[in-house]
Amino acid sequence: MVDRQPAIGGILLDRYHRQNRRRAVLVAVMAALAALGIVLDLVTGPAGLPLSETLRALSGAEVSRATEVIVWQVRLPVAAMALLVGAALALSGAEMQTVLENPLAEPFTLGVSASAALGAAVAIVLGLTLPFLPVQWSISANAFLFALGALTLLQLLGRLRGGGPEVLILFGIALNFSAAAFLSVLQFVASADALQQLVFWTMGSLSAANWQGVVALALVLAACVPFSLRAAWQLTALRMGEDQARSFGVDVDALRRWTLLRVSLLAATAVSMVGVIGFVGLAGPHIARMLVGEDHRFFLPASVLTGALVMSLASTLSKMVVPGVLLPVGLVTSLIGLPVFFWLIMRGRTRR
């Protein structure tokens, strides 16, 4: 073998550290962009408030009562909800893709969204809701329970059947179709009013966002993120394959179980607040991966921020495409997401 210069290790190690610093800067830039996104979201809207007026209202300065209500009770909850939903869905997509070793895994493809929609339909069409809950929460509560139930069922089936992530993915797809089938049945028997409400819900909308919802989702996110980051090295190791990760000292079964639990909570909460939102969970992680690579110390925060930014922009766009009309935000994300999806396929990138 050729003797190499001893200095090359030092040089490459420096390059590695520079690369990590660059990634940290990128993550910071994305955080700044997400903050900018929320501001952009805040200043757009059918009320046509001038930018200065919006900012004055935000800063707590003296503004008209109407302006204050629009900014604080309408736009801010919507903007915050968009940010949080994007962050939650992208983080759950990112972690699912890693623990299920499949680049297409996300809450949407595994039937979480469809199950949540089924739960909402049960509330809207059949009026079956949890007792002792205020009526404005009944749809969300049902959606949450069904989404969480779907993921629990998925894990139980996977455990019973044994076998790895492929089995979970197959069950997820089966679950997706089952939920869709039951949803069709409910749509068929629904009254015209209920049907309209249901269709609106399945398109995903931020218009019903309120502060309680924002706080609930923020709490779930804040509870999950530290655990995700703590598992960063283990998740990175899993990219080398299950057996390898095991031999590195990662308890893969426990990692998968806890990660899926976190991801279930995140996805179920997010979807129950805003309805079916596709592709953020898929596109967010893929964009993040292109930007910062697969070292999960950077990849997970980057996914969170990409998702937040994409949802913020989608929320802004949903108000701008047709002036005066608030499009369901799920439509916008799907329309952004589809080209990304096609591009991913065309790029021909196959894992494993």
Partner: protein, 255 residues
């Protein structure tokens, strides 16, 4: 009791028995043991069982401590595994993957881990690949990276499944020399090798497996005899003695 002790190990894949009641002579630190035998003899499966990657019945212990009951992190510090198949498709760079192999199961500190990983790459002569993405490496390069991932935790036991299968001649010699050096540092090295000539040249001990059981074991010169090769592999072979007690194996054809 020092060394790796495999006793009465049985393993099934579904109804199909792969290993039945396999007991190996104790494997000692400083020794390179080669697992040889025809296809489907259970060599890779035995390696996976030792690595606790496949469930088995029986006892596998290191220095008297049952490996199956050892906490996974502690086990990972003691055992390094180089698998036969290498997952592709990760865009992680080589250095990142080796650092992950070190940090995923331990609380190694950042900068120390980085330097340690780089030192291992340089030791294996692949330092220049440090910043290359895994999915752009050749099969042989990936195999060397896989070895780096296996030895970065300084394990006492090193398990390798056909470690030379994708390597060119120079790299094969380098890798086998490295295995000898790793053993000389007091490690127990166990490798599955198909090339018996290579095994004869580099192994201290050959364990010949046949149909899920131990056929024979010992120094290459005692195990690799024409009779035995005809019996186990069904080939006509010549075995010639060289200097320093070494032998070479030449295969002439089927029996």
């Amino acid at each position: 009791m020092t060394g790796l002790c495999v006793s009465d190990v049985s393993l099934h894949y579904g109804p199909r028995p792969i290993l039945h009641g396999l007991t190996l002579p104790d494997l000692k630190p400083g020794e390179v043991t080669v697992l040889a035998g025809p296809n489907a003899a259970g060599k890779s499966t035995l390696l996976r069982a030792i690595a606790q990657l496949a469930p088995y019945r029986g006892n596998i212990a290191l220095d008297g401590e049952d490996l199956a009951r050892m906490p996974i992190r502690r086990r990972a510090r003691l055992i390094g595994v180089m698998p036969q198949t290498l997952p592709s498709g990760s865009s992680l760079v080589v250095l990142e993957s080796v650092i992950a192999a070190l940090r995923a199961g331990s609380d190694a500190l950042g900068l120390q881990a980085d330097e340690k990983a780089m030192a291992v790459l340089e030791r294996l002569g692949i330092g220049d690949l440090a910043m290359e993405p895994l999915d752009q490496l050749s099969g042989g390069q990936r195999q060397m990276v896989s070895l780096a991932q296996a030895i970065v935790r300084d394990p006492r036991v090193l398990l390798l499944d056909e470690p030379t299968s994708a390597l060119d001649l120079a790299r094969q010699v380098r890798l086998l020399g490295e295995l000898r050096a790793l053993a000389a540092e007091g490690r127990i090295v166990v490798a599955v090798l198909h090339d018996l000539a290579m095994a004869a040249q580099w192994a201290d001990r050959i364990v010949l497996m046949h149909r899920g059981a131990l056929h024979s074991s010992g120094q290459p010169a005692t195990v690799l005899t024409p009779d035995l090769l005809a019996q186990v592999y069904g080939v006509r072979a010549r075995v010639e003695r060289c200097s320093q007690g070494r032998i070479t194996v030449m295969i002439d054809g089927e029996v």
